[in-house]
Symmetry: C2
């Protein structure tokens, strides 16, 4: 059913482009979904991509351009004139149009907007450009179906048909008053089953969820997900209907957010993909490694400070990576659970309960691991009891402290408005490494007295 | 607009339950969305929850039960008789109904099904129970609007109205032939604007995406996301229309998948939440810590094997946590990028190119970090040049090797059908720790010759 994107089909397309065989290309791609054409574009050279974009109809290519990776899109658009870009924008819904225009330079923005055909469309796009991309306003489209509460069903159906021309999918019909204030919604079903002379006032549903134009995109995602909404109307500060957000845009927000958290946990700042340039990837990765390196220096100094132990208990130094690793692992586990709880609002109960739970869990984990360590250490590695006890006591303490830090750092970050996912990355591993080693050698000094 | 769930509102509800004040409770909750009632239920005691469920109308409580966390739902259902559960199930769409019934014991399953009112509904639920929950069949609902290609628009509208009674949201009207084979779809818009005597055959759209009932849920999610679909029909091996999947179920699949990857990266197996019991959390966390502990033993042995270096170059042992941490961090970064590339199908180009890219990046990172290390180490920590060179060379080698492993382990796991996200967790950190230490001391031995 879907066009199969294989090495061969890509090569065939590239061959046809090289031959300037427009007829075959048009025929081959006529039935292909724009999302698939976008995938093809990502695979071929930019020159070839621009050739294809210019060849195909703009009602298809506009959607293709909207689907592209930002990097690829930038390169492709560089190959088009402002007029050509405007022709693509003309075909797009306002939200996609605004997204693309916002990526252009100030100069080009003006040029493209001045070339737009439909003035109403242009005005709406310009309005959308005002909103921050992480807000409801940045996500919404102006395309929607709205009716006046003072109309009757007949007028309503007529008006709807005209409006529906511009709207690819009708989710809800919104009802507004003469001042454009959102009053409620109308179900298609009711509209189909009511007499045509009934006043809209008498049939519409007064309960309608809506979000404010300045609401955070993530909050909009949470609301739509919680209430299983497929579209939500957006109102301004005066309650006037200014746009609507559909679930497909929310799916993108959810995926982006999840990817960001995951990357953060892996010590990758910025949004990168495997196919970004080496330079972009390095920029996203190196800062965290530098942080980890400096953390490493601190542990070198701490170990240096305990160097007198080397003569009497050299074996202690063999255990430092083990202690550090356990501290890091436990810390990341604890903070990941908190970060996820914060993300899906499932974190309940007081901080005190949370602490108690974390400590009890750490005690269980700590004792099991300490017992394993003692038995393995003494039977297989053959070190003396005093050292065994030292390492075991350190292990339990380190696990408890790492889990407490792992629990509270993300909560603290979140309270200060910083993304708590930051806490699951190299940041927590590195600080737990350091703390773990410090605790370990302090306990060792106390017990063994070197 | 939405009911505000606060400590106070929860306490008020608990107070009313304690007083058996049914009138006030019903009044207070009459306008509250079922998703909010589900959140209230999660906050209060199970006895109170069961009281509320029995008090409210089953058209509301059925949706509430479908929204609950699996754990809470299990406890709540334990407080209801099979007949009472059946009454709730009667109100639900087949997909939610099947999900809930599948969580019951075999005995209770039979009892609940035997109490279902509508035999057609019961049959459909039983059919859905056959499918694995991770397949299209496990996600789909039987509620959909379908018309026969041999009807005309008038019959179609009549039939649709009858069918639409059972379907909460009409996304598409599916067209089938006499054998129930999916032939295409019909847009509501066309239906509204075509003469009533036109044959469906002449107006329906023949292109329709569909998935097979056995397709993987994750693949369905990818298709719906790629093509921005809000619903997709599901067909069986013979091409017969058997159900449809809506985007809200797919949003849940996407979120679950992202949470699983994130937890895996943090060393948490199984799906746990901050509010699970200590025992469940320990079960999810301890195995990884045991793995890390055994990894730690291996590094203890390796370090023990190089103990002769302690006399001449004790400072080498101060650097082990630093080297191990760098190996772990780099490895996790590399595999996270691959895991994400695999998840969103953006991984392109040959393995050879990927290797080249990873090595070039590691060289850049490695040299920057080694330069930092050399300067900091020699100026501030004051160790001799030979040691500085040893640590620097080791650092670069460890970074390169860790990144190669980080790149190829997830690719390999994926090829063998194992979740590649496994590679970003403690598994890769632990093995990179070990390898890093081994490389470090081997290089040290080579350069310093102890």
């Amino acid at each position: 059913m879907q066009f199969e994107i294989t090495k061969e089909s890509i090569q065939e397309i590239q061959q046809l482009i090289a031959e300037n065989n427009n007829t075959s290309l048009l025929h081959l791609l006529s039935e292909v979904h724009h999302a698939d054409i976008a995938e093809i574009i990502e695979e071929i050279e930019i020159d070839e991509a621009i050739f294809l974009i210019k060849l195909l109809e703009s009602d298809v290519t506009s959607e293709v351009i909207a689907e592209l990776d930002e990097d690829t899109r930038e390169k492709v658009l560089r190959g088009l004139s402002s007029k050509e870009i405007a022709e693509e924008i003309d075909e797009l819904d306002t939200d996609d149009a605004a997204d693309i225009i916002s990526e252009l330079s100030e100069q080009q923005k003006k040029e493209v907007i001045s070339h737009l055909e439909d003035e109403e469309h242009a005005k709406e796009i310009v309005e959308l450009l005002r909103y921050d991309e992480d807000t409801a306003g940045g996500l919404m489209a102006k395309e929607l179906v709205k009716v006046n509460e003072n109309w009757n069903v007949l007028t309503c159906v007529k008006e709807m048909r005209a409006q529906a021309e511009d709207v690819s999918r009708v989710h809800s019909i919104y009802v507004v008053d003469d001042n454009d204030i959102l009053k409620g919604r109308l179900s298609l079903k009711d509209l189909l089953t009511t007499s045509t002379r009934t006043a809209i006032k008498d049939v519409f549903i007064k309960q309608v969820d809506s979000v404010n134009v300045n609401d955070d995109a993530e909050d909009v995602a949470k609301i739509m997900q919680k209430y299983d909404l497929e579209a939500i109307p957006v109102v301004d500060e005066m309650g006037r209907l200014v746009g609507r957000i559909t679930i497909d845009d929310i799916v993108d927000v959810i995926i982006e957010e999840a990817e960001k958290d995951y990357q953060m946990a892996a010590g990758i700042s910025q949004d990168v993909e495997a196919d970004d340039t080496i330079w972009e990837l390095t920029k996203a990765r190196l800062p965290w490694l530098v942080l980890a390196l400096f953390g490493g220096f601190v542990s070198v100094s701490i170990l240096g400070g305990f160097s007198e132990a080397m003569e009497s208990y050299p074996v202690l130094f063999f255990f430092t990576p083990l202690i550090a690793a356990m501290a890091g692992n436990v810390g990341v586990q604890s903070s990941a659970i908190i970060v996820q709880g914060l993300a899906n609002d499932s974190l309940r109960g007081s901080a005190w309960n949370r602490l108690l739970k974390e400590v009890s869990q750490s005690l269980i984990n700590g004792f099991v691991l300490a017992a394993l360590l003692m038995s393995a250490g003494m039977f297989f590695l053959g070190f003396e009891l005093k050292v065994g006890i030292t390492v075991a006591v350190s292990l339990v303490s380190v696990i408890i402290i790492a889990s407490i830090i792992g629990t509270f750092v993300p909560i603290l970050l979140d309270k200060r408005g910083i993304d708590p996912a930051l806490a699951t990355g190299p940041f927590i591993t590195t600080s737990n490494d350091i703390l773990g080693i410090l605790i370990y050698f302090s306990i060792a000094k106390l017990i063994l007295g070197f």
